[in-house]
């Protein structure tokens, strides 16, 4: 359980890190290390070069400006969890973070690391999908934006060229009075979820659903926006029956199968968690739940 040898690089700027990525063969970026370190220890990853981002300037920080939340890639999960600005502007993220690993791992783990590791069940990726986030990517030619919907290329594979790296995530904020909920089922608290569900709702002045977002994590290689459920919700008056009907859309989704759970189990979980998340989001939108 010891990592194999590698050459260690310790850049100070994004430009240096990108240059190293372009120059070195079989190099990997090291962010918080809470997923990569176990992979190195178990030798399922064996890079010749590790490029440590922990001393790169300007990669961490949280800003809320003109309706957009921006979080630097190296911002620790713990800082996000404790950010009063995020709790107020984007409480879905705060709630999701309480399911991410443990105190010790959140102290090191970063949002950029979670996004790039792209575990199918990673809470932060699901949240990013639920909120239509944009990923800021730096490369030799400068910076470009990638919509979260285009970010997962496949199983644990982000849409990044070998010489590119994520520098930040941008999230367009929902109106202040929106309702939200993040729920998941995991065997043990802190484990990756078998299935997670994120729900967001906005009610109009007549109390009908003006906007809805329903997202599932853990069912496939990438988070799944359940657009059929969203369409079923918008324009309707929220009732338990409506939520049940919308959640039923999740039973028809394609779900993966692995040693943890068969596909049918994930479909059932998806429907149950979605219904509960919608009910909680509704209660929050109407001020009936905290």
């Amino acid at each position: 359980m010891k990592p194999a040898g590698f050459a260690y690089h310790d850049p100070q700027t994004v430009a240096e890190a990108v240059a190293l990525l372009g120059r070195l063969e079989n190099a990997r970026l090291l962010a918080g290390g809470q997923s990569l370190m176990p992979m190195l220890a178990m030798r399922v990853a064996f890079p010749d070069h590790l490029i440590d981002l922990n001393r790169v300037e300007g990669l961490d920080g949280i800003t809320v400006e003109q309706g957009v939340l921006r979080i630097g890639a190296m911002t620790r999960q713990r800082s996000i969890e404790r950010s009063a600005a995020i709790r107020e502007a984007c409480p879905l993220m705060t709630e999701a973070l309480t399911h991410v690993g443990h105190l010790q791992t959140r102290n090191r783990g970063t949002i950029g690391g979670s996004l790039c590791h792209l575990d199918p069940s990673a809470e932060l990726v699901t949240v990013a999908a639920a909120l239509d986030a944009t990923i800021e990517v730096a490369g030799p030619e400068g910076q470009r934006d990638v919509a979260i919907a285009d970010f997962p290329l496949g199983f644990m594979t982000p849409a990044l060229a070998p010489e590119e790296m994520v520098v930040a995530i941008r999230i367009p904020l929902w109106p202040r009075e929106h309702g939200y909920s993040f729920m998941e089922f995991a065997r043990r608290h802190g484990d990756y979820a078998i299935v997670s569900a994120a729900a967001l709702l906005v009610l109009d002045s007549a109390g009908r659903i003006a906007r809805a977002s329903v997202t599932l994590g853990g069912v496939g290689a990438a988070p799944l926006r359940v657009t059929t459920a969203e369409t079923a919700l918008v324009g309707e008056a929220p009732t338990p029956a409506l939520f049940r009907a919308a959640a039923a859309c999740c039973e028809g989704i394609e779900a993966m199968e692995d040693p943890q759970a068969p596909a049918w189990y994930r479909q059932r979980l998806a429907a149950v968690l979605t219904r509960r998340a919608l009910e909680r989001a509704w209660a929050r939108a109407t001020g009936e739940a905290a």
């Binding site: 010891k2 370190m37 791992t105």
Partner: protein, 163 residues
């Protein structure tokens, strides 16, 4: 090239240890092997058990999930730094009094995690305390006594006016 050695300084419990390590040396191994401080234990070596928990700039982290080169110059605290001479810390005393250890393998990790909790949030609620403590594995005690020890230490510290 991949076995290149790096000269770094680990500052453990206020004492500087100038050491020379390969980049692949984890912080936990460097603390044990190069600094000779074997109080920090290694259980799983891949971030699951929490036995290797140390405080990095006062925050609990898993020392097997960091490389020593990354901790160059940072303030590290380990179980050896808890007692003052022969006087145990309130948490260490409480562990003994509440029978919060049996084999003791997990104890250094729990002590460092508990120390961070007591420093940052001594009035922590039960639910959150259980959540945080459950991140470390103990195969002997069943956790209840560990929980009780953290509570007892918080009470003792309040009495002494430490917290």
């Amino acid at each position: 090239m991949t076995h290149e050695l790096h000269d770094i300084t680990l500052v453990v419990n206020g004492r500087s240890h100038p050491i020379r390590v390969e980049a692949r040396r984890t912080l936990a191994d460097a603390i044990r092997e190069e600094c000779g401080l074997t109080g920090t234990h290694l259980g799983c070596e891949h971030g699951v058990c929490g036995a290797c928990t140390v405080l990095l700039d006062d925050q609990p982290v898993r020392a097997c999930l960091m490389f020593a080169v990354q901790a160059d110059g940072r303030a590290i605290r380990t179980v050896e730094g808890l007692a003052h001479g022969d006087t145990l810390s309130p948490l260490q005393k409480a562990f003994i009094e509440q029978h919060a250890l049996q084999c003791g393998y997990c104890t250094p990790g729990f002590l460092m995690l508990g120390t961070a909790i007591l420093e940052q949030n001594p009035d922590i609620g039960d639910e959150e305390l259980i959540e945080i403590l459950s991140s470390n594995l103990c195969r002997c005690t069943g956790y209840a006594n560990i929980l009780r020890a953290v509570r007892a230490a918080a009470a003792a510290m309040r009495e002494e006016g430490v917290a």
